[in-house]
């Protein structure tokens, strides 16, 4: 009798689990082109606007700090630190925003198109979690210690962001087929058209 009750309970539990799975609202496949284009835009902003080495080096370069402190009055030093802190916080905010856009895209749509292995998906999930955590830690460190107090976290963050970008690039690769790339190279290369 007890065994029967146990089996019934397991059966009911499985049914409830199936019902919950069926109720889970998936992202609609129709009309998801906009999300792909937005994800592509987020990826491009990260790769070309926020994560280039020279830009990160410029923002967090200690040479500027040493130069200002050695050659200017204290009030200019203060102004410099304020400005650099503002820029570095802006950088973290922008990176976090674009990473969240990419994460949303991966959660909703990427598995419909990209053949990601389970291992890749787990790695990607960990990288997203690490990135969001690093963004938060970096913001706190920048507030507390200023723009030059978090060099190691910046390194961790940019490395994780590069991995996420590489995985997203694969998911969105179909948006820039070779023919389109060739066309883009042949036309207005310097982007003067508005």
């Amino acid at each position: 009798m007890i065994a029967l009750l146990l089996y019934l309970l397991v059966g009911v539990g499985l049914l409830v689990f199936l019902w919950l799975l069926a109720r889970r609202k998936g992202a609609p496949v129709e009309g998801c082109g906009r999300q792909f284009v937005e994800a592509r835009q987020a990826l491009r902003t990260l790769q070309e606007g926020l994560l280039p080495d020279n830009l990160i080096q410029r923002i967090f370069d200690r040479h500027d700090f040493r130069y200002v402190m050695a050659s200017s009055p204290a009030d200019i030093g203060e102004l410099f630190l304020q400005e650099r802190k503002r820029i570095s916080l802006m950088w973290v905010r922008r990176v976090r925003c674009e990473i969240r856009n990419l994460m949303q895209f991966h959660l909703d749509y990427s598995r419909l198109h990209a053949k990601l292995s389970l291992l890749t998906e787990i790695r990607l999930g960990l990288d997203f979690a690490l990135l969001l955590l690093a963004c938060r830690a970096l913001r706190i460190l920048l507030y507390v210690r200023g723009p030059y107090g978090a060099r190691a976290v910046v390194g961790v963050m940019t490395a994780a962001a590069a991995r996420v970008c590489a995985a997203s690039e694969k998911s969105l690769a179909f948006l820039n087929p070779p023919a389109l790339e060739a066309f883009r190279r042949d036309s207005a290369g310097d982007g003067a058209a508005i």
């Binding site: 500027d64 130069y67 050659s71 200019i76 102004l79 802006m90 982007g191 058209a193 508005i194």
Partner: protein, 158 residues
């Protein structure tokens, strides 16, 4: 909207621009200000009569846009020390009284309208921020060694 120019024409026009016009402007800040001045505020399109006559308006526009972007990217990559030097050289090239120049640049921030199209806002904010600090450094240096030709009546720019 204009049709895009052929890439070969754009490259030739850019080469011509660099050899004939920009060769005189050795500093990126000078080039940036000059190239921004060739852009129509209402349309965002660049115009250079000589270049347009030699190539085409479209090719000239794209060549000017490309060189404008190059000059801006050089400023993004410049250290603060280099930027102070850039600013000092630019100040000398304008032949304006240094104090007048500082007041005008601090008040009007003319560099804000000199950003090429398509530049990420973070890069432009970094350049604006560095220029603001560079101006403050230059001002303190000029105050330490006032020039005899400097204007005596400074009025703040609104």
């Amino acid at each position: 909207m204009r049709p895009p120019a052929k890439r070969m024409d754009v490259l030739a026009a850019a080469d011509d621009l660099r050899r004939r016009t920009l060769v005189e402007l050795t500093r990126p800040l000078e080039r940036l200000i000059y190239l921004a001045s060739t852009r129509d505020y209402n349309t965002g399109l660049y115009y250079h009569q000589g270049l347009a006559a030699r190539f085409s308006e479209e090719a000239a526009c794209e060549a000017l846009a490309g060189c404008h972007r190059e000059a801006f990217e050089e400023l993004v990559d410049a250290s603060l020390e280099e930027l102070v030097y850039e600013l000092e050289m630019y100040l000398h090239s304008t032949r304006v009284a240094p104090s007048d120049f500082i007041v005008a640049w601090k008040g009007l921030e003319p560099y804000r309208v000199a950003v090429p199209v398509g530049i990420d806002s973070l890069s432009s904010e970094l350049v604006f921020s560095n220029l603001k600090v560079a101006l403050a450094i230059l001002e303190s240096r000029l105050a330490a060694r006032p020039e005899p030709g400097a204007s005596r009546h400074l009025s703040p720019v609104q």
